[in-house]
Symmetry: C2
Subunit: 291 residues, 2 copies
């Protein structure tokens, strides 16, 4: 069975039609047997109907879940944690359960409590925009993105195949990991950049706003992320985030010392090495690990 | 005399055909009497000829400067500081002198030493890309950007009019300021974001690079800036940069305390306020100054 075949006969229900769920639905259109969605917001449902994003959109998950083979929970982490314990009540039949939450340990712990008829697997496509909501959804959002998949010990080969096929169907590539590895990694690559954006924005005095340009805009871009989403991320990954923040504070201290004690030649060499290390992190050059 | 008329009869020499000078030349094409350029790099000159970026391109400034009414120094700050004292030797006739350097105090101090036949004015278009060089130049680079202009006490109304017309001709809007105001402002809105990008990149351990996504990419984008350009910026604006860095360190400490001592509701409110303040800085909403 090819990866695509693993998806073609699936009826998929997406719970939450925001930026992530909406983009997923748009990208899956025509590649699955049926697409259902639930979203509590009437404007979102109206827009979903107008754009024909899914076959059926309902207010409550209980209206669409009984028809689905695969459930995708596309909501902020706290909302996912509230949805998971209610799935057994809403879904009498077996189903693969995947989520798109930004942290994975808490969600996978909740998944572990599901009755045996559920086949859960954690997921997190590392893609997004700073503007939330279906209005900003984009079928190309996941193209070229890493789609992290964190199976539980109980996750079957079938659920893995479905999740992998889904990642590929939306143009992403699967990255297999554990919830712990994921959460520690994202603390550095996503949660820390967000906090930095917040700290940077707060550092800029109002009287110099006339000098704001594209550099400030992109460096602080993540500060425009949904406060609720970020709150849930902090609540479920606090220890790793604080460790990453401490690492950053050390780097800033080192930079300050370099500026105070070094000279222009030292600065230039340091800056060039940092640029090279960033290219390495982004996979833009071979092996250039930090000294 | 309209602003555009102020430019139409000018012969303009651009010293340095990198990203900034090259983009300026492309955007001015057809709007001025003649466009000359000098660049020491033979590949840059070959590309400039292939693309027809200017009317004449030479290796040394002395070959084109005698024909120009307006000189634009488009190089890293240290290179500008080395060019300025040589202008009197190269240019026997009167000329308006404008630069595009990233800091303004040092350049304007050097401008003040020019003989009276020169009519100098500091300039800094707040635009750019992390990739340098003529190959990345773009006639739309300055569109919608703030073009800071810092006149000296001796700067004439004519030089002001020419500089303003030039800013408008490339699609930017002039922002009048002093060298001191500019350098302090840019320390927060540009030099600090750069240092943050460097510190962030260095904070990410190599083993988590598989989790890098668009958030890290944009937050650290400025870390890919030219190390030489950034070296010169630090060398000519160190005190203001260190003050901005200190402000940022305070904000990071405040964030860490909030995460350690507050709860999810406090975090969400803090994040929402930071996002609103960022929109205010970007001019995306009315008056919402930081508390």
């Amino acid at each position: 069975m090819t990866q695509t075949a693993a998806l073609r006969h699936q009826r998929i229900a997406i719970i939450g039609l925001g930026l992530m769920g909406g983009s997923l639905a748009m990208a899956l259109r025509g590649q699955v047997a049926a697409l259902y969605a639930a979203d509590p917001d009437p404007h979102t449902r109206a827009l979903a109907r107008e754009w024909g994003v899914v076959d059926v959109v309902a207010a409550g998950p209980e209206e669409v879940l009984p028809h689905a083979d695969v459930v995708v929970l596309a909501a902020p982490v706290q909302a996912i944690l509230e949805l998971v314990p209610r799935l057994p009540h809403w879904m009498p039949r077996p189903a693969v359960v995947l989520d798109l939450g930004s942290t994975k340990r808490a969600v996978c712990r909740a998944f572990a409590q599901l009755p045996p008829r559920f086949d859960p697997i954690g997921g997190h496509p590392i893609a997004g925009k700073e503007h939330a909501g279906l209005a900003h959804a984009d079928p190309g959002l996941y193209r070229g993105a890493a789609f992290v998949l964190t199976p539980l010990p109980r996750t079957t080969a079938r659920a893995r195949a479905v999740a992998e096929a889904l990642a590929q169907a939306v143009g992403a590539y699967p990255v297999w990991s554990t919830p712990e590895e994921h959460d520690r990694g994202l603390a550095f690559t996503s949660h820390l950049p967000y906090l930095l954006g917040v700290a940077l924005a707060r550092s800029v005095p109002p009287e110099v706003r006339g000098f704001v340009g594209p550099g400030f805009r992109s460096t602080s871009r993540l500060a425009a992320s949904s406060p609720r989403m970020m709150r849930d991320i902090m609540a479920t990954n606090l220890e790793a985030v604080l460790a990453a923040l401490e690492r950053l504070e050390d780097e800033i201290t080192a930079l300050r010392r370099l500026l105070q004690q070094g000279g222009p030649a030292d600065w230039e060499a340091f800056f060039a090495a940092a640029a090279a290390y960033r290219r390495y992190l982004l996979g833009e050059e071979g092996a250039a690990p930090r000294e």
